[in-house]
């Protein structure tokens, strides 16, 4: 890592890391897990005061003007601390709104996202599908939406949702205000700290985000930035497992001296570094303006795998200590699953990847 952009991303990420470390302690994170659809509103207010929602958005809409690499670094910080803030959502959605064919009409919404005056939920998944069907069931008639969306992060506190809907038999992206025409349903989830809700729309007024690439961009950018969040979480699991393996003893030696534990650490490390490699590769493509679906899918799949695996094996390394509520590892175990499923499960992304490879294969 060497470019000048690096210094900026390091600085803001370290600052965010410092603020989170001083604000958020374990009891606060545990309290969020206790009841459905929880959100750390005080932390969000602080984030807004400090300008975090707009950190990777252009200055002309009120952002701080930093790039994707900075957001990637911040996403790792969030993942590492298991803090849920809708920063990836704000950035990705504002950018996509600004790049839309009807950017002018959408501009006010991009502004409120950059300032943090509104929260947006990226709510693409539908009930009954672990991925995205070519044609969604949610339907746009005229300029109103009718149908349902599966549980989506931040939907319980958001003022806006970005959804996929069908218009004349084709999938489009639509921005919808979460007002009276929308019902939110919350339920106990394995990870209650995601402020998640499923949404039901009855002729809810919506704005289509026009543009051929809008849909693909939202999915790819969300997946890539989430991959960095997953990598941050996985890295935290490895740190916890490693330090426990070095200090905790059995049979007269640190458990880290056992080959079974050493190999476990090496396997987690390998999974994380493959994911990091894939994510950085995709990030570089993105910075060069040519983010491919292959690179995105590789980052998404490998990061989901790495986080699930790291969390599960970090628990295993702790033995009985890994399974208590008081311990911290279950926060990661839960979050790993949330991040792996919220944007479509691995089976879906694997198909995207393979279809892409098959289409591009040169014989």
């Amino acid at each position: 890592m060497q470019s000048s952009a690096q210094t900026a991303d390091e600085a803001i990420a370290r600052e965010i890391e410092r603020v989170i470390a001083s604000e958020v302690d374990e009891p606060r994170l545990k309290a969020l897990l206790e009841s459905p659809a929880s959100f750390d509103l005080p932390l969000w207010k602080l984030a807004v005061e400090q300008g975090w929602p707009g950190l990777s958005l252009p200055t002309d809409i009120g952002g701080l003007g930093l790039g994707w690499r900075d957001l990637a670094e911040v996403a790792q910080v969030l993942g590492h601390a298991t803090v849920s803030l809708p920063l990836i959502q704000a950035t990705v959605v504002a950018r996509v709104l600004m790049a839309a064919d009807n950017a002018q009409a959408l501009r006010p919404h991009a502004d409120t996202l950059a300032s943090g005056n509104a929260i947006v939920s990226v709510a693409l998944m539908e009930p009954g599908d672990a991925g995205l069907a070519p044609v969604p069931n949610l339907t746009l008639k005229g300029d109103t939406l009718t149908g349902a969306i599966a549980s989506a992060p931040f939907a319980n506190v958001a003022q806006l949702a970005l959804v996929r809907a069908q218009r004349n038999g084709k999938a489009v992206l639509a921005l919808v205000e979460l007002n009276e025409a929308v019902t939110r349903h919350t339920a106990a989830l394995i990870d209650n700290a995601r402020a998640a809700a499923s949404l039901e729309f009855t002729e809810a007024p919506a704005l289509v985000v026009e543009g051929a690439s809008a849909l693909g961009d939202v999915l790819a950018l969300s997946a890539l930035m989430t991959a960095f969040e997953q990598i941050g979480g996985a890295a935290a699991c490895l740190e916890l497992a490693k330090s426990y393996a070095m200090e905790h003893k059995a049979f007269g030696q640190p458990i880290g001296a056992f080959q079974a534990i050493k190999h476990k650490m090496a396997d987690i490390y390998t999974a994380i570094e493959i994911a990091r490699g894939c994510a950085l590769e995709a990030l570089q493509e993105l910075e060069q303006g040519s983010l491919s679906l292959e690179a995105t899918a590789a980052a998404r799949i490998s990061a989901s795998r790495a986080y699930d695996f790291a969390a599960q094996e970090a628990i295993q390394t702790h033995g009985g200590m890994g399974i208590t509520w008081e311990g911290f590892l279950h926060h990661h175990y839960r979050r790993a699953r949330s991040l792996a499923l919220e944007l479509g499960s691995t089976a879906y992304w694997r198909n995207l990847l393979i279809d892409q490879l098959v289409a591009g294969a040169k014989v």
């Binding site: 339920a187 394995i190 295993q316 009985g320 279950h330 175990y333």
Partner: protein, 392 residues
């Protein structure tokens, strides 16, 4: 394969069909309600001779064979009755007391109470520094006239908070190698100086406890086994149940149903090759285990011992549930994150880590398979042969 046993199975089935419905677990029951129900079920079974099938009749058991117990367990598993509360009590702790206990009078008094579920026994082996390495326990018992004084801390004791009695492994001689200085006792859990603190698992279950011993005085008549011979007794406790019928299998049929009814990117999930692979692997594993089980039962029924391959059952259980739970959640997509009774798959995924740890971790079981079954040499053990109090 055995007419007497077939007949017994029919009897069990008929009795269970008649009685289990009075003791079914309901969603949303409190711990107290479940425990009350478990006691009621235990008493019903005791009256019919199904509560402690292999224990001698004079202690409240049914005096029948291991095979009868397996048959009953298989049938009982088909009903949603409370089963978890008395397993350690009746399969490990109580039998050890009955085997090693010094006073027959006390055995005849306490045995039936435990069998009927009026009393519960817990097992206090593990400590903060002694889990896999059981012989490393530090809780000490010191001789004082005809009594022993116990000081120290136990950890992960299942159901200590409702236990009436407990068996405990303590250090009585720190100047000899760790296995050789341990003694085994039973204690009244209401004794002065015992403090129980309940821990919460991350699944919400509140079965585990820390137990603190502060100058707890017990008479020498509560010793089980020789002074400094406690490690052998502990092994006896752990091996007591030669063959436990496990009830935790990945629910393959339900996963196939799910894969038929959900989609991945608009396509039926059941057509996805990776999902098919996991389903096939799960089936193959279960098929192998079914046969291992069948052969074990046959061996016992022929008067022999089950083969060593039974050891892999526990090993595969946790991983298999983890894989199946994750697959089902993946199939459900965002809805797979729902918790509670709505989503039994998420529940089994949340529970899987415990199955890989409790009763021997995966890593330790793999070592056991490699060393005990395959005869491979042990890893270096720096504590071997050294006096316990000279270990670093």
């Amino acid at each position: 394969m055995n007419p007497e046993l077939d007949q017994y199975r029919e009897e069990c089935r008929a009795w269970l069909n008649e009685n289990a419905r009075h003791c079914l677990l309901q969603d949303g029951m409190t711990l107290d309600e479940e425990i009350a129900l478990a006691r009621k079920w235990q008493a019903l079974k005791a009256d019919a001779g199904y509560a402690a099938i292999t224990l001698p009749c004079e202690y409240g058991g049914a005096g029948k064979s291991e095979l009868h117990k397996i048959v009953f367990s298989e049938e009982e598993m088909q009903h949603r009755v409370p089963r978890q509360y008395f397993i350690i009590s009746l399969s490990n702790a109580l039998p050890t007391f009955l085997h090693y206990g010094q006073s027959n009078e006390l055995k005849c008094e306490l045995g039936p109470k435990a069998v009927r579920g009026e009393q519960l026994w817990c097992q206090m082996f593990s400590e903060p520094g002694a889990g896999s390495d059981l012989a490393a326990v530090r809780t000490k018992a010191e001789k004082d006239g005809d009594d022993w004084i116990i000081n120290g801390q136990k950890l992960w004791t299942s159901w200590a908070q409702i236990a009436d009695w407990g068996v405990i492994l303590t250090r009585t001689d720190p100047t000899v190698p760790k296995h050789k200085g341990l003694s085994y006792f039973f204690v009244n859990m209401k004794s002065p100086g015992i403090e129980v603190r309940t821990l919460k698992r991350f699944t919400g279950d509140q079965d585990l406890n820390e137990v603190f011993f502060n100058d707890v005085r017990i008479p020498d008549s509560q010793r089980l086994g020789e002074v400094n011979g406690g490690f052998m007794v502990a092994i006896h406790t752990l091996m007591m149940e030669r063959y436990a019928v496990s009830s935790v299998n990945a629910p393959l049929d339900e996963i196939i149903e799910l894969a038929k009814n959900t989609k991945v990117g608009g396509e039926p999930a059941i057509h996805d090759s990776a999902i098919r692979e996991t389903i096939a692997d799960t089936f193959i594993e279960q098929q192998g285990l079914r046969n291992i089980h069948r052969r074990a039962v046959q061996a016992i029924s022929d008067g022999g011992s089950p083969g060593p391959e039974g050891a892999i059952r526990k090993l595969l259980m946790g991983e298999s549930l983890l894989r199946a739970g994750k697959l089902a959640m993946d199939l459900l997509g965002a809805e797979g994150l729902r918790a509670g009774s709505y989503n039994r798959f998420a529940k089994s995924w949340l529970n899987a880590p415990v199955l890989r740890i409790a009763g021997g971790t995966d890593e330790v079981l793999k070592n056991t398979v490699a060393e005990r079954i395959l005869g491979l040499p042990q890893e270096m053990r720096p504590d071997k042969g050294k006096a316990f109090n000279e270990l670093p």
